[in-house]
């Protein structure tokens, strides 16, 4: 039988205490205090977070795993549109000031927990609106309105350099409108090369990626993805699993480290997670509970999904982490 030294050219180190997980990643060592062989390996998984205070679907999200925002939503039928705003601090959700104009399926992914834009969406009559509001960490203020009313739209960037694309007006039709936001006004941009609602986004307005979505009526979904650089859209490589209404990082993620999780496939929901490295989409650890129309926040290595549905609404939160951890090696 080969020895460790014959394979790797070195003996296993003996140490009195473990190196940090990050420092020891990929190494094997012998801990002379515990008399055990140990290693540090990267482990990626979704774990449960505390539940939303108000279960709901069609919820918008943004921010990071430890500073996320959940906005608006729907529970039903019978119709119950929610204007609730909740903040997540990495441990629990707390109720904040409601949206000024109650709606659901407003723009997702545009901004942070303390500077978030909720544009468009459906009013309680399920009709698309042009309303746009800014959340500053404590209250909502109306901004100038979108040029084109729509719901199920997707957002990139920040509250002073934002972009919304796609959406429905009304569902199940999809639109190819694109509008940018400078902190004051919404300006119509040239049409996008896709006509899709409920797609996933990552990154700033001038260096983002857009993936999936529903081009037609339910339950259709697409695997297509696109990148935007400056103002130019190019076609990217396809998702492995076609879906719409996924959880995703939006402003919290980047064009070269994007992610999306779950969503509505054809015909059922999926647990699949995929990561994008700027070139291709690869599968990652699955979420525990299949769902769509949920909120999302965070980075590719520290992600967050919450709520979602079916329409009856979920409260469950899941946190993704991809971190190195020290493990004791055993023979089992």
């Amino acid at each position: 039988m080969s020895t460790y030294k014959e394979i790797f050219g070195k003996y296993v180190r003996s140490v009195g205490s473990d190196p940090s997980a990050a420092v020891g990643e990929g190494e094997i060592w012998y801990n002379t205090s515990s008399n055990t062989f140990k290693s540090s390996v990267r482990v990626a998984a979704w774990s449960s977070g505390n539940n939303l205070n108000t279960a709901r679907s069609y919820i918008a999200g943004g921010g990071t795993q430890n500073a996320a925002l959940g906005v608006g939503g729907y529970v039903g039928p019978p119709s119950g549109v929610r204007g609730n705003t909740e903040e997540y601090n990495g441990t629990s959700w707390s109720e904040q000031a409601d949206l000024g104009t109650t709606r659901y399926s407003t723009s997702r992914g545009l901004g942070t927990q303390t500077a978030f834009i909720a544009a468009g969406g459906n009013n309680p009559s399920a009709n698309p609106v042009t309303n746009s509001e800014l959340y500053n960490g404590s209250s909502w203020t109306a901004t100038n309105a979108l040029n084109t009313a729509r719901s199920y739209l997707s957002g990139f960037g920040t509250s002073t350099a934002g972009l919304v694309v796609g959406g429905a007006n009304p569902r199940p039709s999809a639109v190819n409108n694109s509008e940018s936001f400078d902190g004051t006004n919404w300006t119509a941009n040239p049409a996008t090369p896709f006509t899709v609602k409920n797609g996933a986004t990552a990154g700033p307005a001038t260096a983002g990626v857009f993936a999936g979505g529903a081009p037609g009526g339910p339950p259709t979904s697409t695997t297509a993805s696109y990148e935007i650089n400056s103002t130019t859209w190019t076609t990217g490589n396809s998702l492995n699993v076609g879906r719409n209404s996924s959880g995703f990082g939006g402003q919290g993620a980047t064009q070269t480290a994007a992610w999306l999780a779950g969503g509505l496939g054809t015909p059922s929901t999926t647990t699949a997670t995929e990561h994008y490295d700027g070139t291709s989409w690869t599968t990652a650890a699955v979420i525990a509970t299949a769902r769509g129309s949920m909120g999302g926040a965070g980075t590719q290595s520290l992600g967050l999904i919450f709520g979602g549905g079916p329409d009856t609404g979920l409260a469950a939160t899941e946190e993704y982490s991809d971190v190195a951890a020290v493990k004791t090696l055993t023979t089992s």
Partner: protein, 96 residues
Amino acid sequence: MELFMYGTATNTGKGFFTHQDRQDFFLGGYPGDVWVIGKNEKGAVWLALKNGVEKTKTEAQAIVDTEVTAAQTAWDLMSVEEQNKRSGRPGPITLP
């Protein structure tokens, strides 16, 4: 050999299932607080610690079916106009 066990347990939030749990055994959540759990010692201990109630696959599927049927019925009672504005009729779910 059966790969899964089935049970009901209420998701209490943070710590209900951990990063380590997801490494130790398969776990999938379904409507009606139904959980499909990888059938090993750690999976069985997890269900017990969560005050879960073990079910047969048939029992668990029946709980899920009841939830799905209720959601489908609610969907069918909506007008076509309302339906067109939402994500679609909930589809059937078959437990693994």
